[in-house]
């Protein structure tokens, strides 16, 4: 039933002279009194964009979409990504005119509704994190990290300190070191781990007056809560450093514990994960940060302020702000969806969401641990990391093979080969918005795969449109865009 022609490339579908009328003819006379643009600035050749009739545009994208797995269509237990249900009510609400079409330079008196909501969102994120200073500005988690590190740098500079090093465990997400480097810090990775936790001794050995920030994901990327996190924070604070909590895993602890309560000084949220963004096939996200009071004056601009007397919302710049890290206010479209989510669940609902996320993960763990090694024990937070190391030794079937074979069963694969500290890692995060039935079906499939003939699994996927793109050759001679056959 596949429509083959509709998934040709747009460029192959193009025929000169086709197309759709979208715009009207001009209704204004030419302003002949004004000088014309010099021809040196004018286009020298027609743009080679494809010409496609609207009906074919539609058929193309409708058919393309069906080549995707997605939360709307499939269980998608991608660890570290919190692929929870994206409520349809959010999409409708985000289309309301003031939300969808406000111009960033529109006067404040025309957008009081929107600003009031963003103000509430700041407060809600402060409450959830236990960190009072919030900036909604960063575009995604990675930019949140970067922004928070700049904030920390400004704080240290303001105190006349020259702290140059950012530390993180080996299990850290790649954005942690990348953001630290971008912010001009020296990166120090802690090699060791104590059963998946930060090794306090190694940490201690690395701490000194050069230490600026220790970045740690909590729950960490193994799905474990860093039980010594308070001690870690003490150690950092003793040497004058700060603790950065990578909040990618906040979905495990909403209303159960707060970064500000367990020693974090700064954190980012991934609104597209924890507060169900959605993910958009790779974005957009939103990465607000929350910081302790003494860091708040350094937060990026703008912040929404509220004059309670006049009941007036306006943009403001913190006293010692690091400035802007992007154009305009922030990823408002995603922040609003996060706001709708928090409003829908309330405090109790957020806690229940986390409880169920953790319950689902532990249940799934209980169902797979007898046929799949789970190196870090049989308790986890919202996700856990299994390992196909033994299977690989025995049969040659790798984590990648298992991941691909799951697609044949109608399930998206878990995150594979991350975190780097676990061999043949399979990182599973079911989220709270999946049913017991789905978890059981998934576990059953996984169990079946683990005892299927190695050839079958290594040949997977068998039911998808394509099977195992050759990435090695692709990287050698990259083809990154279509070009007309004759040139």
């Amino acid at each position: 039933m596949r429509n083959q022609t509709a998934t040709q490339l747009l460029f192959e579908m193009s025929r000169p002279g086709r197309g759709t009328i979208v715009f009207p003819e001009s209704d204004v006379p030419d302003a002949t009194s004004l000088p014309a643009i010099d021809s040196a600035f004018l286009s020298v050749a027609p743009l080679p964009l494809p010409e496609i009739a609207e009906p074919d545009v539609v058929r193309h994208f409708v058919n393309l979409s069906t080549l995707n797995m997605s939360v709307d269509s499939h269980f998608y237990p991608l660890g570290s990504c919190t692929m929870k249900y994206n409520p349809k009510r959010h999409e409708r609400l985000a289309r309301l005119p003031q939300a969808a079409t406000s111009h960033p330079y529109q006067p404040e008196d025309q957008i009081q509704g929107l600003l009031s909501i963003l103000f509430e969102m700041q407060n809600m994120l402060a409450e959830i994190s236990g960190l009072p200073g919030v900036s909604l500005h960063p575009a995604a988690g990675a930019q949140g990290e970067f922004t928070a590190l700049l904030t920390a740098a400004a704080y240290f500079k303001d105190r006349g300190e020259n702290r140059t090093r950012v530390l993180f465990p080996a299990s850290a997400h790649g954005t942690n070191p990348a953001s630290a480097a971008l912010a001009g810090f020296e990166c120090v990775q802690l090699a060791a781990s104590r059963n998946g936790f930060v090794d306090l001794d190694e940490l201690k050995a690395q701490l000194d007056e050069r230490t600026a920030v220790f970045m740690v994901t909590n729950p960490n990327t193994l799905g474990l809560f860093e039980r010594d996190i308070a001690k870690v924070a003490d150690m950092l604070h003793k040497v004058g450093g700060l603790v950065y909590i990578d909040g990618a895993n906040m979905n495990a602890i909403l209303g159960k514990t707060r970064p500000g309560d367990f020693g974090g000084d700064m954190m980012h949220y991934n609104v597209h994960k924890t507060f169900t963004g959605p993910h958009g096939a790779g974005g957009p996200g939103s990465g607000p940060i929350a910081v302790r009071d003494f860091l708040a004056p350094f937060l990026p601009a703008p912040i929404v302020a509220h004059d309670a007397v006049k009941n007036w919302y306006s943009l403001s710049t913190p006293a010692k702000s690091i400035g802007q890290v992007r154009t305009f206010f922030g990823n408002v479209g995603i922040l609003l969806r996060g706001y709708f989510y928090i409003r829908t669940l309330g405090g109790k609902g957020l806690r229940e969401a986390s409880e169920n996320a953790v319950l689902n993960a532990n249940y799934l763990l209980s169902q797979v641990k007898d046929f799949l090694e789970v190196p870090h024990g049989d308790r986890c937070m919202h996700e856990f990391v299994a390992s196909a190391r033994k299977i690989k030794e025995q049969t040659g079937v790798t984590t990648m093979d298992i991941a691909k074979r799951l697609l044949d069963y109608g399930f998206h694969a878990p995150t594979v080969y991350f975190p780097l500290v676990v061999e043949e890692a399979l990182m599973m995060e079911p989220t709270e918005t999946e049913s017991l039935e789905t978890l059981d079906a998934f576990a059953t499939a996984l169990r079946a795969i683990c005892s299927e003939p190695a050839d079958l699994v290594k040949g997977a996927p068998h039911t998808t449109a394509v099977c195992r793109p050759d990435e090695v050759n692709a990287a050698r001679k990259p083809v990154l865009c279509w070009s007309a056959p004759n040139c």
Partner: protein
């Protein structure tokens, strides 16, 4: 959330007997959860616990929150809808006729764009890491990359960055990686002031000197550029049309940069190639843009779309995700992430950028948008915007005391100067149903007299003749009173 229908005194009498309160009290289901009490029991048993608390015993007791978060009470979909219609139902660009510019614009978005990108298979998927389960996304992004190279004439496009401003800074980082120079970056005074702010935030701490190229009557004089650029300069950053709407001699500036071994980075208006030269025509090395005009709603300035392109030789130094065409095991053409070794999840602190989540859905919007409007549509957009801008400028400058700040040809927006402070003029126009701006007084822009009396006026294909004439009438009125 408790079932209100049971809380109201006297109302129980109305309920049929079979609706015994016990069914609902205390077990009003949360909207997106599934587990029934029975299922919960089954799961507890499988895990070997008696209560949820046991799972959270991983968190030291003293760190656990013992109270409920202080947040607004949960609301039903109906309540939220009604409240949000109150708070967000009015406004946006439709509130007043929008002549606002400054990097994002009130362009038309065909319905096809909204409908196609509303498909759950697109917007509820993650980054296409599992190629076989993501061919839809991957092909669409490959098409996006191709469309952007067609639009710009550049060799390579990535699959998006956050937005135009960060794309400029990422371009400077990339230039540093290419020519190894970190000391100095030269940027045009006519660069969007928010892009410039981002540059400052990104590079001030790194000790990079940021040198402003002053403008002369709204554009950069290439001769003056030559004096500033030197062998320590990483790159020159230019904008075309510039923040004032005027046209820069990008070719000359690029040549000067190249002579000094510096790279030429151009931020261009994404609609402009419909009428004006495309970035590659100027021989620039990196071209970036804010992609919002091509199918993305304004959303108070975010999420937007960072377009990022460069020459082939710099491909491996690019920030952000790249989709490549390849073949699968059976030799079938297909698509997959490519050159991932540049990215943070592999290269970590040595990555070409820290970006992970990018702006996928906006790239998809632009793909559908360009496929729908085609070359003719883009030409119309650019030409109509330009023609209407000319008409508006002509009408407005006939008002006594009103003039173009810069005596230069422009593309689709221009700086208007009036005898009164913009802080007075703009609100008076808003009262008359019109938004113009931004008021240029809100930016730190050097070297301009009477800045406080200036503002931008931007046109798109959406503005009608009668709206433009209404603007002229309104401004006349405002200046008289």
């Amino acid at each position: 959330m408790k079932p209100g229908i049971l809380k109201m005194p006297g109302f129980c009498s109305l309920l049929p007997n079979h609706w015994s309160p016990v069914i609902y009290i205390g077990h009003f289901p949360m909207p997106y959860l599934f587990d029934t009490p029975e299922q919960r029991r089954k799961m507890f048993e499988a895990i070997g616990i008696q209560s949820i608390d046991e799972l959270f015993a991983q968190i030291p007791k003293e760190l656990q929150l013992t109270r409920e978060l202080t947040l607004p009470q949960p609301v039903s979909e109906l309540t939220l809808q009604q409240e949000m219609e109150q708070r967000l139902g009015q406004g946006g660009t439709s509130l007043k006729t929008c002549f606002l510019g400054g990097g994002v614009y009130d362009h038309f978005i065909p319905a096809v764009v909204d409908e196609m990108t509303a498909r759950g298979e697109f917007y509820t998927a993650y980054t296409p890491y599992q190629a076989e389960a993501s061919q839809g996304t991957l092909q669409a992004f490959y098409e996006y990359q191709t469309l952007i190279t067609q639009l710009t004439g550049m060799d390579v496009s990535n699959a998006s960055l956050y937005e135009g401003g960060t794309a400029v800074s990422e371009a400077v980082f990339m230039a540093m990686r290419i020519n190894g120079r970190h000391q100095k970056v030269v940027f045009a005074a006519t660069l969007h002031p928010e892009y410039r702010r981002v540059l400052v935030t990104y590079f001030a701490r790194l000790g990079t000197e940021l040198v402003e190229l002053p403008h002369t009557n709204g554009v950069i004089d290439p001769a003056k550029c030559r004096a500033v650029i030197d062998s320590e300069t990483t790159a020159i950053v230019i904008q075309q049309p510039n923040f004032f709407g005027c046209l820069e001699d990008v070719a000359a500036l690029t040549e000067i940069a190249h002579e000094a071994g510096a790279l030429s980075i151009l931020a261009f208006d994404a609609v402009s190639p419909g009428l004006l030269k495309k970035p590659a025509d100027y021989n620039v090395d990196i071209a970036v843009a804010e992609g919002q005009p091509l199918g993305t709603p304004l959303q108070y300035g975010g999420p937007l779309l960072g377009i990022f392109t460069c020459r082939t030789e710099y491909m491996r130094k690019m920030p952000g995700r790249l989709i490549g065409k390849t073949t699968d095991r059976k030799g079938k053409d297909c698509f997959a992430l490519n050159l991932q070794a540049r990215e943070q999840h592999i290269r970590r602190d040595k990555a070409t950028s820290n970006i992970c989540t990018n702006q996928g859905l906006l790239a998809l919007r632009t793909t559908v948008f360009l496929a729908t409007v085609g070359p003719l549509g883009l030409k119309q957009m650019a030409t109509l915007s330009h023609q209407k801008a000319r008409y508006a400028a002509d009408l407005l400058t006939k008002i006594p005391g009103v003039s173009l700040k810069f005596n230069q040809p422009f593309f689709r927006e221009f700086v208007l100067q009036t005898p009164l402070p913009s802080a007075d003029v703009l609100p008076a126009l808003a009262v008359r149903g019109i938004n113009v701006g931004p008021d240029l007084a809100r930016f730190e822009i050097s070297n301009v007299k009477d800045w406080q009396n200036c503002f931008l006026v931007a046109l798109t294909e959406k503005r009608t003749r009668s709206e433009i004439e209404h603007l002229a009438k309104a401004l006349t009125e405002v200046l008289k009173s």
